[in-house]
Structures are given as C-alpha cells and as structure tokens.
C-alpha cells in the first residue's frame, strides 16, 4: 500500500488550481441559470402568464338574447322565443372517421338533411371554434329531443339545447320592416361596427334588425371552465353573464300598420303604402303587399321558401315596395310640377291657362284622361279637377324655357330620384328622367345598333341594345309633368314631397326641411325606459314660397272635398277635412293602370301624410283613395272598417 499517501500534503498548488477551475465552472453555470431565470420570470413573465391562463381556460359561449322591437305604444312587434337546436359537442364527438360518418348519417336521417350537409356544417364550425358546440339544425321539435335523449349511445356528442330565436307575434304585419337575423359573415367581421361579434353569432341581416343591430344585439356571455392537461373538466369559473340587447321602440303604430296592410290586401294584389308624421318624419306605417310571415326567417330558410318569396309569379313578397320599388306616379306628381312652375316663375297661382282637352306637340296629341275638357283654369282648379292639359303646358314650358331642367331639379329637391334616408337599408333612389340621361342612353343605343348589326327584330325586342330608341323630346317633359313615362318613385318619396309642401304652406318664410323619414324612435331598457332617443339627422332645406304652397294645398283640398274634385266622392262623409291627390299611372302594353293616392290630413294643418299605391288598381279614385281613407280613419279613430266604394273619377 502507498502509506506515503497519508502524509502527503493534500492541498498542492496544482489541486488548488483545479478546484478553482471547478468553482469557476460552477460560478459560470449559476450565472447562466440566473440570467435565464431573470429573462423568463421577470422580463417575459406576462407572456408566459398569458400562456398559462390560456392553457387552462375554456370558454363556452352563451348566446345573448337580442333586444325586442316594440311599436310607439310599446306593443311587441319582434320578440325572442326559446327554440331547440341540435348541436354536436366536441367532447363526446367520436374520434374515428367511420364513427363520425355513421353519426352524420343518423343525424341526416333524423333531421331530414343530407349527411354530407351535416358533415360540412359540423366540421366547418369545429374548425372555426374548436371548443364550442356546432349547430346542426335550429328549432327542432321537442319530440326529437326525446328521441335523441333516449338513444344517447347512438348519438355520441349530440345535444339538444335551447337557443333564442326571433318571433314575430303579428305575422305578416310589418314583415318588410324588421328584416331578419342570420349568422354573421366573415366580411362583416372585418367591419369595425362588428368588433364585439364573433363567428357564429347571429346579427341583423336586413331591415330594422340590420339598421339597429348595434343596439339590438346583446353581449354574449360565457361559461368559463377550468380544464386540466388532459382536457378534463376541473371546475367552473365565474361565468360572464350574457346581456340582452336593448329594446328598440319604433314610431310605427301597429293599428295603422295593420289597417294599411288589410287595405292593400283588399286591392289587386300588389301595392304599398306609407304613413308619416308631417311634422317630424316619424313613420307610423309602411307596408308592402304581398307580405310574408317573417317567422320563416327565425330558422334557416329553405331554398324553396326563399324562391317562393322572391319569384315574380308570387309578386315577390320579400320586396318592400314602399321603399325599394319605383313606379310612375301619375297625377300625384302634379304637386311637384306645380311647385316647380311656381317657384321658377313660370306661373303664379292665378295664371289662367286654357285646357282645351288636348294639346299637340311635335305631332303628338296629349289628351286629358277620360276626354275631359276643363276650359280656362288656374292652378288650384287644375289640381282639383286634375287637368292634364294644364300640366302638359307647364311641362312643355319648362322644357322649352332654356332655364335648365326646372322640373327635374324640383323633383330632386323634393326627394324624388334620391333616397329619403329612412332607417331601412333596402331603400332605393328611384329615377327622374332628364334630357341628359335620355340623350346619353340614346347615343349608346345607336352606337350599339350600328356596331353589332343586330336584326331589326332583335333591336325591337330591346334585349340587345335597350329600349332608348330616341333622344329627349319635349314629350318626355310633358309626360313627366303628369307623372308618366320613365319616372320611378315610391310611396315614401311621395309622402316626403307632399309633407315638404304642406310644411312650406304653414311656414312663415317657406324655408322647410325635406324630412328624413324615421322608424326608430328610441332605445330603451327591457322595462321600456328610454335610454337614448334616436333623432334623424337634419334633412336638406328647400325654400318654397308659403303663398305658392298654400295655393297648392288649396288645390289638393278641393280635389278631395270640393266640387268636381277627383276624390271628393271617395271622401264624402269623412269627418276629417283632407287635402289629397289621385294618380293614375299608365303602364302601357295592355297592363292595368297603377292607382295612386296621397293625402294630407287634417286640412289645413296636416299632421299626417298617407301615400298609397296599388300596382293594378286603375284610376286613383278607384282603389288607392279608398285605401287611404281607411288608413286615415284609423289614424283619426273614425269608426269605419271597410273599403268604401271607389269613386271612379278619371284624373
């Protein structure tokens, strides 16, 4: 043995050096570890804390009910209903491909859907929100819940859950206004107004639901679960309560709306009406016929239903004719012609013109309706008896005057050919024909004809180059002056124009707003307490001499009440004095005339304007005027609830 070992001095310089190296290595290693820990725990701590939170938190969305929509009296127009939805939860969902396909097949058979469709829906939703349940079908029958509940093992992961669906207790009444809700699209999600909306949420897609979506949609809540590393549920964390959307009060009057729609239903099948408060633009009723049951839209609409609602054969019930249609308005347009002629100085209220029954311009004869001859008359009488020749002359003068498009300018000033600005996204601007438009369109027509060498038959059919086979002529302006020809306007636009003139007549200096019609009145909490008033932005201003406007009003009053008035017979015995104008738009080619009526009541200080049209109602006094009377009787609580017989006075 090496006994000298025992005596050997243990701490040689060499050993000390090597121990120092080991110590140095330890020091460096500790330093590295400390720096790394500092980096992880102090500098990047927030990031890792977020990751740790995300690890354990699973949020399951709880749908918030939308706010209800009520009428001006607080009567519920749109509410929520709890329906049952078939959903697939990711937890119990089978992992194997074959088992999934089998499940899709079973669900498809049960729900009357193609299995491929079930698969597409489920897989798409799982892709988008991996921890949320995927909805297979909304609003299923209660018996289905029983069926699935009793066969849990055949339907792994399938759950039937209550969901909020929209319900419309009054069916077709107001159907066109509310629009519908549906799942938010990806484009919408990019829109800043949809910041708090997530994929899979339902938002307003049309009508009031879309216009006021930001108030109506609630804030979704969430059930928050803590899960462990294996996805096992550990405990429920404090949930985020779902918050119902705000209640929306409309200026709509359910009774007026109902009566209006009933009145239209008594007509020829297609038509529209608008009732507006002349003083502030509040819309009390706005209807279109034919209508539909919006409850169809509470769930996913069938393809066949949708086709039926949009096809021409059924009158396209989905179309809101009151704001998105465009019609020639017939003599109701004379208010605009009169205003233009007066304000542009072509006539005074008392300028006499001779109505000889017809005028001939450029070889074309323009006749009074029904062959009437009214003789010499001034504006008031011309409106009362609806002298066409009087307005033909005005139209001719304004076309030839060289003072620009006086008629077109005033039509646009009074809101024709542009959107009224109502709080409905479906509104259309309509159209006011002008020289510039027709000449340009005609040049295009000629170019098209010249270049392509279509046959005369093809050209005549209008399918290749359109119908504008001639340029602007004075006849076009004469037609426009009585609301015929290429003019396109809707009842709401006419209501706005009439309200503007009525307001000018009452005003001191004639400076009035062109009202922006408004349906939304205020935002309320669920108890009906006001939270925010919805006020329309100030409308455009126009100036109409009050004396001129008053003369027009007097003419309109005569038309409804005076001797020889076109609608006097319709309003016979009606206790409220009104000012109103009939209109009969010729649609040519053997089609029935379109009947129009616009009324202001009570005269001389009107509160409401009512505009009604029936697409095939004939003379204005035949159908539209009686409908207007019915609506007015509801507005003023006059006790009569059937259509009076039409007067049949030609206008």
């Amino acid at each position: 043995m090496y006994l000298d070992n025992e005596r050997r001095p243990t701490l040689t310089p060499q050993l000390a050096f090597r121990v120092a190296i080991i110590g140095g290595v330890a020091l460096v290693a500790f330093a590295v570890i400390f720096f790394r820990l500092w980096y992880l725990q102090v500098l990047s701590s927030d990031e890792y804390a977020r990751a740790a939170r995300g690890n354990q938190l699973r949020e399951i969305k709880v749908q918030a009910p939308r706010g209800e929509i009520v009428d001006r009296e607080g009567r519920v127009l749109v509410r929520n209903r709890v329906g049952l939805a078939v959903k697939v939860s990711p937890d119990g969902f089978p992992a194997g491909r074959a088992a999934r396909e089998e499940l899709y097949r079973r669900l498809g058979r049960l729900l009357d859907m193609r299995p491929a469709r079930v698969r597409r829906r489920v897989e798409q939703q799982f892709d988008e929100l991996p921890y949320s349940k995927a909805t297979v079908k909304q609003d299923v029958d209660r018996s289905l819940m029983m069926h699935i509940g009793e066969r849990r093992e055949s339907f792994p992961g399938v759950e039937v859950e209550p969901v909020f669906l929209r319900e419309y207790p009054h069916g077709e009444i107001g159907a066109h206004l509310f629009g519908y809700v549906g799942e938010v699209t990806e484009q919408q999600l990019d829109d800043p107004t949809f910041t708090d909306v997530e994929l899979g949420d339902r938002v307003g897609k049309a009508g009031i639901e879309a216009e006021y979506d930001r108030f109506l949609r609630g804030r979704n809540g969430a059930t928050r679960l803590r899960v462990d590393a294996f996805g096992e549920f550990r405990r429920t964390l404090r949930p985020v309560e779902a918050k119902q959307g705000k209640q929306l009060r409309l200026s709509l009057d359910l009774d007026v709306q109902r009566v209006g729609q009933q009145a239209l239903a008594g007509g020829t099948g297609k038509g529209a009406f608008a009732v507006m408060d002349v003083r502030n633009g509040e819309v009390l009723a706005l209807g279109s016929h034919p209508s539909f049951d919006p409850n169809l839209f509470a769930k996913v609409v069938r393809e066949s239903d949708y086709r039926r609602l949009t096809s021409d054969e059924t009158g396209a019930p989905l179309t809101n004719r009151a704001v998105s249609a465009g019609y020639p308005t017939g003599s109701t347009f004379k208010l605009i012609t009169a205003t233009a002629a007066l304000e542009e100085g072509f006539i005074t209220p008392d300028t006499p013109l001779n109505d000889g029954g017809s005028i001939t311009v450029g070889g074309i004869e323009f006749k009074n309706a029904g062959g009437a001859v009214h003789g010499t008359l001034a504006l008031r009488q011309a409106l009362t008896v609806s002298s066409d020749v009087f307005f033909y002359l005005l139209g001719m003068d304004m076309n030839n005057s060289g003072r620009g498009n006086a008629l077109q300018r005033w039509a646009r000033r009074l809101g024709i050919g542009r959107e009224t600005g109502i709080d409905l996204p479906e509104e259309g601007p309509g159209f006011v024909p002008s020289r510039a438009w027709r000449d340009r369109a005609h040049r295009q027509f000629e170019r098209c004809k010249r270049r392509n060498g279509y046959s005369d038959v093809e050209i005549a059919a209008g399918t290749k180059c359109g119908f504008i086979d001639r340029g602007w002529s004075v006849g076009d302006n004469i037609n426009l002056a009585v609301g015929q020809g290429d003019l396109q306007a809707n009842p709401l636009q006419m209501a706005v124009a009439y309200a503007t003139v009525a307001n000018a007549a009452k005003s001191k200096d004639g400076r009035v707003q062109v009202l922006r019609p408004r349906l939304g009145q205020r935002i309320e909490n669920s108890f009906g307490q006001a939270e925010q008033n919805l006020e329309a932005p100030t409308g455009r201003r126009v100036r109409i001499d009050p004396a001129d406007a008053q003369a027009i009003m007097e003419g309109l009053h005569g038309a409804a009440n005076g001797a020889g008035g076109t609608s006097t017979s319709v309003f016979e015995g009606f206790p409220i004095p009104i000012a109103g104008k009939t209109g009969t738009a010729e649609k040519g080619a053997g089609r029935a005339d379109q009947s129009w009526y616009v009324a202001l009541a009570p005269y001389p200080d009107p509160q409401y304007v009512v505009a009604v049209t029936d697409e095939a109602g004939g003379f204005g006094a035949d159908t539209a005027a009686p409908m207007a009377r019915l609506i007015l009787s509801e507005l003023f609580h006059v006790n009569e609830h059937s259509l009076v017989q039409g007067g049949g006075v030609p206008d």
């Binding site: 080991i22 500092w38 890792y48 990751a51 590393a229």
Partner: protein, 389 residues
C-alpha cells in the same frame, strides 16, 4: 475558514473536541430537504384523490432514513472504503446487472429493483459507489498518474457501468458516471493532454452515435432519446412530447414571475407540467414561488457545492479529496443539467434534481454522499486538531 471552538475544552483524552460536522453543509442539506418536502406536497396535492400528502409522506420517510444514513456515514472514517474498492465496484456492477435480471419494465425501461416499499434504482446508488471505487483506483496508481494507461484504465472502469445503465436505458445516470470519472481524474491531476484526448474521443463517439451509425442503419440511441436530446433546441416548432414538456416547463416558470403564483399555479395543479414532482420539480418551484423561490433553492445548491469544494481542499488525505471531487461533480452535473432542462437550455436526459426531486433512490444516495462529505470534513478536523497537539 475552519472554525475553532471558542473555548478549548481539554479532556483527559489526548484529542481536543472539535465540531465533527460542517454546519453550513448541514444547513444547506436541511434547507433543501425542507424545500423538497414543501414543494413535493404542493406539486402533488391533487395527484392521489383524497390523499394530498401521499408523496410528501413517502418523501419524508426517504429523507428521515437518508438523514440517519448521512449521520452514520459522517461518524465513519471514509478512508476504510478504499480497502473495499473491489467489493464496492463489484456491488455496483452486480446491482446494475441484477436490475437487468430482476428489473421490471417501467415505461419500456428497466431501472429498478422492487423492494415492496420502494423501487431501488441501482443506477442512483451507483453514482456514489462509482465515486468511492474510482477514487480508490486512482489513489492506488497515484505515482503513475501521468501515464496514459492509468487514465484509460480508470475511464474504462467507469465506462463499463455507464454503458450498462445507458443501455437500461438510463442515459442520465450514464452521463453522471462520465462526469464523475472526468472529475476524479481532473482532481487527481491527470495531464491536460489526456482530457484533450478524451474530449476528442467523446466527440467522435457522438458523431458515430448520432450520425454515422444511423447512416449505416445501426441505431444506438432510441428515437425517444434522440428527441429528448434535441427537443430543447427548438421547442416551439417541435411537436414531440419532449417539446411539449419543455414548453410547459417554460410556461410554468415564466408565469411564476417574480414572486410566484402560489395557489394559482395552474401549470402544476392541472398537470400541464409533466413529472412535476420528479424531474421537473424545479419548474414547480419556479411557478409556485417565482424568481425569489427559484433563487433561494439555487442559493442552497450553491452553498452545497461551495462546501463540497471546501471540504475537498481540507481533506486529510488524497483519497478524501478525490471522493469529495467526485461527489461535487455528481451534484453539480445533476443540478445544472436538471435546472438547465427546466429552463430550456439543456436537453431532457432524465436526471433528477438532487435532494429536491421526489424519489427514494436519489434522496438516499445524495444524503449518503453528503454523509461522506461530512465524514471527510470530520476526519480532516480531527487530524488537524491532532496535529496541533
């Protein structure tokens, strides 16, 4: 510096009474086992339903037994182990082979012998046995240390058990064995050229194991071992289980922040952190007690290593210095590789954190190793006191 008792109390015996245990080393030991018990309890509260203290109590038993062994060894003159070197080495090889013979399969690897109460992991105790035996072999050849033959013999003696445990497969323990032999040779004063040669050989071995052998179709490491070794390089992109473990460990430690998440330690509580009471216990410390807690535990390890090196330098004989050096290397290597693994700068090798990780074999082995350090300290103090007389 060595402390002398303030009042020299001379008895009739020739030797003065000296403090026969290093108080700082003892403090570090107690501090770490206390931290271990607390952390193991926190990490495993919900692991056994209805028995939140299951792992803590078992760890407590290991600690108590280990402390008894530690004190016993500190009263024993380690120098006598030198004479039993062949017995120790033989026991080391035999126990590892016994694991092969009797060992049962746990997660596809045979590492332990079942003793009813606990599973004896031969490779853990083997670390200490190897230190004891190798140091003795080196001391025997003290005069021929500069020879290549000495170095290669000693390395070979370590390689035999290292290869056996790596094949178990227990790569971690094998690497500890290699760290031990290098440390023992280093402290003994083997020439630098030998270390350079060993480094070259190691590099060649790595190239062969990882690149050359697979290229000709011989897989020396199993796939999971390779994944473990390389996952830490890019845990974000790697989809393997190891990358998941590293990510969860980083998340746990990072989320701990400065002062820890305490009751909100969801990474640990909800099992996102794998092996939270064994290999990844340092991540639990990081999450529950934050930077402060992690720094405290690391400081205790620093104290432990400092005392071990201090004891190395004061050893009464060369054998003691080598044993202390081997133990120091064993502790250092395990601490740095384990902690490095949890913070994403070292590969996953399955090395426990000494004294902290749950597990009887590791706790007992480490406490016995510390007992040997205390023995070296006590012997050195007594010899010094005797010399002073």
């Amino acid at each position: 510096m060595s402390t002398s008792t303030p009042v020299q109390d001379f008895r009739e015996t020739a030797l003065p009474r000296v403090l026969r245990i290093d108080p700082l080393l003892l403090a570090a030991t107690f501090g770490l086992v206390a931290a271990s018990l607390y952390t193991v309890r926190r990490a495993t509260l919900g692991d056994i339903p209805g028995d939140p203290n299951y792992f803590m109590y078992r760890q407590l038993v290991y600690v108590v037994v280990g402390l008894v062994l530690m004190f016993a060894l500190s009263r024993f003159d380690y120098s006598r182990l030198r004479e039993w070197k062949w017995g120790v080495y033989g026991f080391l090889i035999a126990s590892i082979l016994l694991v092969y013979a009797l060992g049962f399969s746990a997660r596809g690897s045979k590492r332990s012998i079942e003793f009813g109460f606990f599973n004896f992991q031969a490779s853990e105790l083997g670390k200490l046995l190897l230190v004891v035996a190798l140091s003795a072999f080196v001391v025997d050849r003290l005069r021929r240390l500069g020879e290549r033959e000495t170095t290669s013999r000693v390395v070979l003696l370590a390689l035999v058990p290292a290869m056996l445990v790596i094949a178990q497969p227990d790569l971690g323990s094998g690497l500890v064995y290699l760290a031990i032999v290098l440390a023992v040779l280093f402290v003994a004063g083997a020439p630098w050229t030998h270390f350079a040669a060993l480094g070259g050989l190691a590099a060649a071995a790595i190239v062969i194991v990882l690149l050359a052998a697979p290229a000709v179709g011989v897989e020396l490491l199993e796939d999971y071992q390779k994944d473990r070794l390389t996952a830490f390089l890019n845990p974000g992109e790697n989809r393997s289980e190891e990358a998941y473990q590293i990510n969860q460990s980083l998340t746990a430690i990072g989320a701990g922040g400065k002062t820890g998440r305490g009751d909100q330690s969801t990474q640990t509580e909800l099992n996102f952190l794998p092996e939270h009471h064994t290999d990844f216990i340092f991540s639990v410390v990081g999450e529950e007690f934050g930077f402060v807690g992690a720094a405290l535990v690391l400081s205790l390890f620093a104290l432990l290593i400092w005392r071990a090196l201090r004891i190395l330098t004061m050893s009464k004989n060369f054998y003691g210095a080598l044993v202390a050096g081997g133990i120091t290397a064993m502790l250092m290597f395990q601490v740095f590789v384990n902690v490095g693994m949890t913070i994403g700068i070292m590969p996953i090798t399955g090395i426990p954190l000494p004294l902290m990780s749950y597990g009887g074999s590791s706790v007992l082995t480490t406490l016995m190793a510390i007992g040997l350090l205390q023995s070296i300290y006590a012997q050195a103090r007594e010899t010094a006191a005797a010399k002073r007389l």
